[in-house]
Symmetry: none
Subunit: 230 residues, 4 copies
DNA sequence: CATGAATGAGCATTCATTCAT
DNA sequence: AATGAATGAATGCTCATTCAT
């Protein structure tokens, strides 16, 4: 399993060398070719890592696997990240960062808890659907051969993000005297498990899964959508 | 990740050498000292494996780690299990076997779905509490590694067992036209996540956690127990 | 390759425990059941070893392989032989002992070098044909699956035996001022290589192979048998 | 035993990493220090392997043995060869490559079978004499293990090479209706055995050995050179 | 004597990481 | 900054051999 605290606290600088304080200089704006290759490399590593984690699972993946897929020299990897864990952290951070504004929007716009819940569950489901897809754009879909693993760094990060968003809302007073930690946990548990089942079905029915999850949490078993009689 | 189908079908013999076909006889009493140390060793390996899996996670754990904690010679391990996976299977099988009769009893005795759900959620929580405890008795609790990994083989086995028990009950007709796969998933998701939170609290309150989980599933957010006003 | 000096000097006692000097006693004659099992075990080990060497090759074969095929306990092996090498030596010795009287007969009876050469080449060919066959008598021929290895301990022993028989005859004066070491070497080289080719053909034609080998040695290329025109 | 087909088909690239497709250029001169140590390492591994195979025999030799003698780190070996078998193949290939043109020259130039046979037998003998010498120059001869193993990868390769050269010539029509497979086998058998004896003598007399072998094959026992009367 | 579990040295191989180029 | 060969610790596993039963 991923170190669960992978995404704690404020977002760290990506580089472990001081991130070039001097890049305020005009040269930084001209993006010398050097600069460009640097971010290309970084992106390549992240992309490769995402794929490898998805295909092999975080634990089974080796730095070598990532490097191999990258095409870079092995030493180059270490100019960007110190270890597998650090790449994972970067991926997680990135995913969290992309999701965060969406969640915040839901928090702020939602009129009631119900619509808020609907919003974030859908956002979460959408995210894991996307995470599932091969990242390298030029890949034919059919190549999605080897069963992709669940629980990638990105997935976990998103999961955590959603959990804390829920907790935040709950704590903001929608639910007096409810054990918000438990409620957030339960909500995210429902989302995770139903999300996983959703991914396994073909075709993927985000709508149905979200409806089920939300109504269960809000009103329990009796409220859950019934299947149409055949 | 653990091979998810680790606990399929009938229970396999533990030994990978033919397990004395003719030993139907109550010969077990004749156990010489040999037989005795054999089961001691087997137990030691299992115990060590449980610990190691709990501390390092299944994937990160190595056979060598298990052996080291065992104190046995490296070759000895392979007299009992062929691989890490095989030990894990044994642990999972064992956990499932211990839980199974309890779950079956609940299924058969429960008057209604509510009491059934109560029964199994409690059983599950009890199990993970036990699984949590360090097996080597003399260990101080504080020594638990910073982030204990969940998802040990035992944990997963129990999880699966509960899930299929729920599915079984649901399919038996209590809930017409409900998507039982989703419902089972949601239930187990709630149990897993709340269970995890429960373990993190001190003191551990099985009762409260179970009440929360069950009432949420049965009647949703409004039904959930309120905290006492301070 | 086999230690080439596996069959040097006089034949050693097979057991590495003093071979029961006291077995002159009448008890030895009654062949107590103990005594019988002992030779059965020894025979079983030798048979198993012969098979294993033939199938896996001497180097690749492990003591474990031999034991496994024997059905005995691993410790038992060491009551009879100290190592793989020692079993091989025993097999080689046995083969040499069985061949030796045949060779001696040829040496003594042969009127001229030609008939002598004929005799021993045939004896050698016969031997490697037999060595090729599975030893366990109850085995169906078709089971001769996995390609059997050449150069078993028995084979090597026989080879050496033939070589020294040739050298002996040569030294006895049939060939004045010939480099007998070279001649013996050449003869045995011809026999070994043609023997190997012979075994590879189907059906095995001992007669033809022997005729070719002998006439080449005696009179060289021009004398060799011609193939029939089609 | 060595995989007999170790030297089949066209010569494979030595490296198992793609061997710089574009390096048709005389770029070899640009060899940086890197390239240089690379080939030094490769040479060191091959040299060590040759020694180890000669001393221990191919089967008994372990990759570790080779590495140890090399002085390199264990991982380094695998930068060059994937396995013991692959080093052996490289050695065999190398030997065959060096011998092949010589044999071809003999085949093409020889006026008659006699001179051809003379040529290749000498070439073969010369080769095994060279192969015999310890490669690390500073080694005392006496250090050769009691029983030097023949059948090193190089030796076998040369052996095969000669055998097929003979077969080629024979098939080209010099000998009508002769069983060329048998004849080639016999020739090579003579060469191998006499060659071995030759190496054991001190001083080594290539000339005498070759004369003996060739005349035996061509005209049989009566034609063989007589020893000078003392 | 037979048994077979325990032992630990040994082996092939992989991997993260360093560092000279 | 990029490279990629070198490194050696670590891993999974096998094997010959011993020894208590």
């Amino acid at each position: 399993m991923l170190p669960a605290d992978m995404l704690q606290g404020p977002l760290p600088a990506q580089d472990h060398e001081a991130p070039e304080q001097g890049s305020q200089l005009p040269e930084a704006q001209t993006n010398g070719k050097r600069e460009q290759t640097k971010s290309q490399n970084r992106a390549a590593i992240l992309a490769a890592a995402r794929e490898v984690f998805a295909e092999l699972g975080y634990e089974a993946a080796s730095v070598r696997d990532i490097i191999r897929r990258t095409g870079l020299a092995s030493g180059t990897f270490y100019n960007y990240y110190r270890s597998k864990e650090e790449v994972a952290k970067a991926i997680a951070t990135d995913a969290a960062l992309r999701l965060r504004p969406i969640l915040r929007a839901h928090r702020e716009q939602a009129a009631d808890f119900e619509s808020y819940l609907n919003g974030i569950v859908r956002a979460y489901f959408q995210f894991i659907i996307d995470d599932q897809r091969p990242w390298r754009p030029g890949r034919p879909i059919s190549e999605r051969r080897a069963r992709v693993r669940f629980q990638t760094p990105a997935h976990n990060a998103v999961y955590d993000e959603v959990e804390s968003s829920i907790a935040l809302v709950l704590r903001r007073g929608l639910s007096p005297r409810v054990d918000t930690a438990y409620l957030a946990a339960a909500t995210i548990g429902v989302a995770r498990e139903i999300g996983e089942k959703m991914l396994a079905r073909d075709p993927i029915d985000l709508e149905g899964a979200a409806a089920f999850a939300v109504s269960l949490i809000l009103n329990g078993l009796p409220a859950v959508p019934r299947l149409a009689p055949e």
